[in-house]
């Protein structure tokens, strides 16, 4: 199959871009590994419309209904439940759906593949019973699943607060909430005036915190969180005011913010910049969302964390940018001005500087006995040892320890290994590069490759 554009990701950014492109008469195919459109924020929004969880998921979630309706109405070719595992020059997109592989060609690609939660290793994070807040929220959105037993949340950022509210709304219980955020710095507070442009957004956050305080389950100023148990989570412990506290726990949900999914743009060799405040790499894009590689565009959280409203506007902008790139004789600048997209983006970004300054990633060094690479079970100690014995390069550590060689390909350990190599060599983290990412982006079986049909030109 051949299209003008392949969009990877049917979240807010990918859907907005595809609708924009279709409106301009450009042929577009949207590919997503989820079974239905909506992305992370609006996961399962169509199926949930008639479910008791719909109301509890809140207003922002419900807004997904109109976005997915507009997406379907635009007559766009949509390939759900399909994983993209390679993108080759030309552009050829290789994907697997239902155990069979295919290749789609396009003149331009939009990567609207979103974000993932930032993995933060700590003692016991591999124990069954420990998972991310985002994972628990996905379970809620996809099967109406609620955690049982003594549920603890440990983390920082808007997502744990939102999830706790959704859970309580549905009659779920939270036994305790460990707020791992640092005290608001003066720098964070200096962003308050800009944040007031997003008054409802700010009020929502305050309401979450207030509800939580009132419940009396908020724990602050903690250090050295550990999860313990023999093959199954049983307890958590932490230090606070010089004392060690312990609690029996059934489920521990953790969250330390989200970072862009960069494996696709890294494998394509796009230039990336280091965001030192939020400690992540993001592809460098121009004002239309085009990366350093001509014809490869990025929109939404994949290009830097902004949230769903920014993702939507950036999708519309990238749609126009791609139309401009394809030279179909439209005045993209004029359309951009008329739709006031830059104003919209500015408004949607208003709260972000405050959030980014309030919720900075944890900087505590990882203890030597903590597993960093979940796939190959490599500890921080072994990574430090390998880093001391080699040049300041994550590739050398990978070769020496196998960390990053498992099926997740460094999606869980990448930033931790980078930070450890920087620590050992006394370098700023941003001066150490990320793992070298090579296709396939997901493990592909020979059986899947054997089903690959001839590539159409």
């Amino acid at each position: 199959m051949s299209y003008d554009v392949v969009v990877i990701g049917a979240g807010p950014a990918g859907m907005a871009a595809a609708v924009q492109l279709a409106k301009l008469g450009i042929s577009v195919c949207v590919v997503d590994e989820q079974p239905a459109p909506g992305g992370q924020i609006w996961r399962g929004v169509e199926r949930n419309a008639t479910s008791p969880v719909f109301k509890a998921l809140g207003e922002d979630y419900q807004k997904g209904s109109s976005a997915t309706a507009a997406f379907h109405a635009a007559g766009i070719d949509y390939q759900p439940a399909a994983q993209v595992w390679q993108i080759e020059d030309g552009w050829k997109v290789f994907l697997t759906a239902e155990g069979k592989s295919r290749c789609i060609t396009a003149k331009a690609i939009l990567l609207a593949n979103g974000a993932q939660e930032r993995p933060v290793p700590f003692a016991g994070w591999t124990l069954p019973g420990v998972m991310t807040v985002g994972a628990a929220q996905i379970l809620l959105k996809s099967g109406g699943m609620l955690p049982e037993g003594d549920v603890w949340i440990a983390g920082a950022g808007p997502l744990p607060l939102l999830y706790a509210t959704q859970l309580l709304e549905l009659g779920g219980k939270v036994a305790g909430y460990i707020d791992t955020s640092q005290k608001p710095s003066l720098k964070a507070l200096s962003h308050l005036p800009a944040a007031w442009r997003d008054f409802p957004g700010l009020m929502k956050g305050l309401r979450w915190i207030w509800k939580l305080r009132r419940s009396g389950k908020l724990v602050r100023n903690t250090r050295n969180l550990r999860a313990t148990g023999d093959g199954q989570l049983r307890q958590i412990e932490w230090e606070s005011n010089g004392k060690t506290r312990k609690r029996d726990v059934g489920v521990l949900l953790v969250h330390e913010g989200v970072v862009p999914r960069i494996h696709e743009t890294m494998a394509l060799g796009c230039d990336h910049d280091w965001n030192d405040q939020q400690k992540y790499f993001a592809p460098r894009v121009d004002q239309w969302g085009e990366t350093s590689r001509k014809g490869i565009f990025v929109a939404g959280d994949a290009g830097g964390i902004g949230g769903w409203k920014v993702a939507t506007v950036s999708g519309e902008i990238a749609g126009l940018g791609i139309a401009r790139f394809l030279n179909i004789g439209i005045d993209a600048e004029k359309l951009r001005r008329e739709a006031a997209l830059d104003d919209g983006r500015k408004r949607a970004m208003a709260l972000r500087p405050l959030l980014d300054a309030l919720y900075t990633p944890p900087q505590t060094p990882i203890a030597d006995d903590v597993v960093v690479c979940r796939c190959e079970e490599v500890t921080a100690g072994r990574i430090r040892e390998a880093a001391r014995a080699s040049a300041p390069d994550v590739g050398a550590v990978k070769a020496a320890t196998r960390c990053g060689m498992g099926p997740c390909q460094g999606r869980q350990c990448g930033y931790s290994v980078q930070a450890l190599v920087a620590e050992v060599n006394n370098l700023p983290v941003g001066d150490v590069r990320f793992f070298n990412i090579r296709p396939p982006l997901k493990p592909v079986t020979l059986g899947e490759i054997a089903t690959l049909q001839d590539v159409e030109a």
Partner: protein
């Protein structure tokens, strides 16, 4: 560890799946990964130390949800919606590319 809000609301489950051979009721919207969290002894065993893991991210980036589904090993459970009659078994050891 998890239960469905539907379990208390609907009289009947939406479908039946077989987990390690045992009939298990399941709900629309669930994935293989949510079954791994509800039913004991299906979490994957790591190829290195053999310890048991359960789904961590639910969004395709940790590979802790690998399972044998309808006889096919190394299926990423969180990306696989349940279907009536599906058979789910524990994944042991390394995912072999080429299987």
């Amino acid at each position: 560890m998890f239960r469905s809000v539907m379990a208390g609301l609907k009289e009947q489950a939406d479908m039946t799946v077989y987990v390690n051979g045992v009939e298990t009721p399941a709900w629309d919207g669930e994935t293989v990964a949510s079954i791994l969290l509800r039913v004991p002894n299906v979490g994957r065993q790591t190829p290195v130390s053999g310890e048991t893991r359960l789904p961590y991210c639910q969004m395709g980036v940790c590979f802790e949800c690998l399972a044998v589904v309808d006889g096919v090993p190394s299926v990423q459970g969180c990306l696989m919606p349940l279907k009536d009659g599906m058979r789910i078994e524990r994944q042991r050891g390394r995912r072999e590319v080429g299987q």
